[in-house]
């Protein structure tokens, strides 16, 4: 599904990504862990095609990121730190606008269904600017999946959410996973990573230092591996 070969990214004279090789199969849910400044968000931005890599090849679904950019963008759902929502618009209007951008059929029905799914149907027509952080994040995830993307790129989706919101968010991710969506998730939240992901990648200083599969939501295993790689504990 995603093939990355020798990817580097340089900003001025600082190397942010130093040679990433990664291959992710369809349907995998991958968590990217690592300390601040490891280049996790940058990797996600390169995949979302909003940042150009300095060198390297990225292939998504067999399509080259440089050549078939429009086709690839149709496959991607991207949720960064910020919500990407228009403040004056209601959830419905936001979702319908972005849905139309992706040429979703029956966009209004789908938007209403998604808002229901994230449990905000009561606020369907309220402007987003009055919402709390948790509510905004739930609408933001609905925005990212409005066109049923085949690849979901999430940048710290759990940050600042309460338990209820986390449960709803995880529900959406899991239900997307059941439909065969590939998910890449940058996170600091080991518990969530262990809970919903089946593969963990640990990044440090712009390179991948560890890459392993986990079973049965083994949180302790993830923490141990992370400490080994990042904090130098063995």
């Amino acid at each position: 599904m995603i093939e990355i070969k020798n990817l580097t990214k340089r900003a001025d004279s600082k190397l942010i990504l130093r040679g990433i090789d990664l291959s992710i199969r369809k349907g995998e849910t991958v968590a990217i862990l690592g300390p601040n400044g490891a280049g996790k968000s940058t990797l996600l931005k390169v995949l979302a095609a909003i940042m150009k890599p300095t060198t390297g090849v990225v292939k998504i679904n067999g399509l080259d990121l440089k050549k078939n950019i429009l086709d690839i963008k149709q496959l991607l759902g991207y949720l960064p730190h910020s919500s990407l929502l228009y403040d004056h618009y209601s959830p419905l209007e936001n979702l319908v606008f972005f849905g139309k951008m992706y040429r979703v059929h029956d966009v209004e029905q789908r938007a209403i269904r998604l808002v229901n799914e994230v449990g905000l149907s009561f606020f369907l027509n309220e402007p987003v600017k009055n919402f709390s952080r948790g509510m905004i994040q739930r609408i933001a995830i609905a925005r990212a999946v409005i066109h049923e993307p085949e690849i979901l790129l999430l940048d710290e989706p759990h940050t600042g959410l309460d338990q209820g919101a986390i449960a709803i968010l995880n529900n959406v991710i899991v239900s997307m996973k059941e439909k065969g969506t590939t998910t890449l998730m940058v996170t600091h939240d080991f518990k969530q990573a262990a809970e919903i992901c089946d593969r963990i990648i640990i990044m440090k200083n712009g390179t991948i230092v560890d890459d392993f599969y986990i079973e049965e939501q083994n949180l302790g295993f993830v923490v141990k591996k992370y400490q080994q790689q990042v904090e130098g504990v063995s």
Binding site: A11, D12, S13, K14
Partner: protein, 253 residues
């Protein structure tokens, strides 16, 4: 300290090689600039005939026209390297575009200061709203804006890209500005080369023309020297930044 530098150079034989070649080019250009400037001074002040009504004040005309020529050429170079940068995305093209624009702005200022001095003795007024003057003024504003874009914060390739786009737009605008203003009002300027639509060609004596052409040549060489020097400064600046970054990385580890 010097030991260290030598060791660095030994590690990078390639850069040292280009370094010595660079010093030669720079020396040759410097020598050529000095010689051609001295020759053109001789022609301006001793060889060329003195103008009847303006006397010595007319001599500034040679520098005025040559500076204007240099500025236009510099902006054209910026335009060409802006296009090259957008196609090839090599940092060296961006450096040339930037340094050339800076030189252009400096010489536009010279044009805008020598112009009024000439105007004072020729037309008895400091400033006239006349096509070429206004065009030069607008040109000055366009390239000051270009340099403002370079002052933005952010990574170099973003700044270089935006500046290149503006360099292209700005230069494409110049002929239109000139025609619009020329159409708007045509009055004072003597047309030195060729004939204007509504004005008589002022005409020059041969000795003046020779002096003018020599000065223009001298200024062109001066431009080449400044461009070369400016770009090598930029290169050094980048190199220093790279060393700094390397040191920082070592300290972090």
């Amino acid at each position: 300290m010097s030991m260290n530098l030598e060791r660095e150079n030994a590690a990078l034989p390639e850069s040292q090689l280009t370094g010595t070649r660079g010093i030669h080019v720079s020396k040759i250009l410097f020598g050529a600039t000095v010689i051609s400037m001295l020759v053109s001074f001789y022609f301006i002040f001793i060889y060329a005939a003195e103008e009847k009504t303006m006397h010595a004040a007319q001599k500034i005309f040679y520098f005025h026209v040559s500076s204007a020529w240099l500025a236009f050429m510099a902006f054209f170079v910026t335009f060409v390297f802006s296009i090259l940068f957008l196609i090839k995305r090599k940092r060296i093209y961006d450096m040339y575009a930037y340094v050339s624009a800076e030189i252009g702005v400096v010489f536009t200022i010279i044009v805008l200061t020598t112009g009024p001095i000439w105007a004072r003795s020729a037309w008895n007024t400091w400033w006239v709203w006349e096509p070429r003057l206004i065009t030069t003024l607008i040109l000055f504003f366009i390239y000051v804006a270009y340099i403002m874009i370079r002052q933005m914060d952010g990574v170099w390739d973003k700044k270089a890209r935006l500046a290149a786009v503006f360099g292209i737009i700005g230069f494409a605008d110049v002929p239109i500005v000139f025609f619009a203003i020329r159409w708007w009002q045509t009055k004072f300027h003597p047309i030195v080369f060729g004939n204007g639509p509504s004005q008589q060609g002022g005409g020059m004596e041969d000795s003046m023309l020779v002096a003018l052409l020599l000065t223009i040549t001298a200024f062109t060489i001066l431009y080449a020297y400044l461009l070369y020097k400016g770009v090598s400064f930029e290169k050094m600046r980048i190199k220093v930044e790279q060393y700094k970054e390397k040191l920082r990385e070592k300290m972090e580890q």
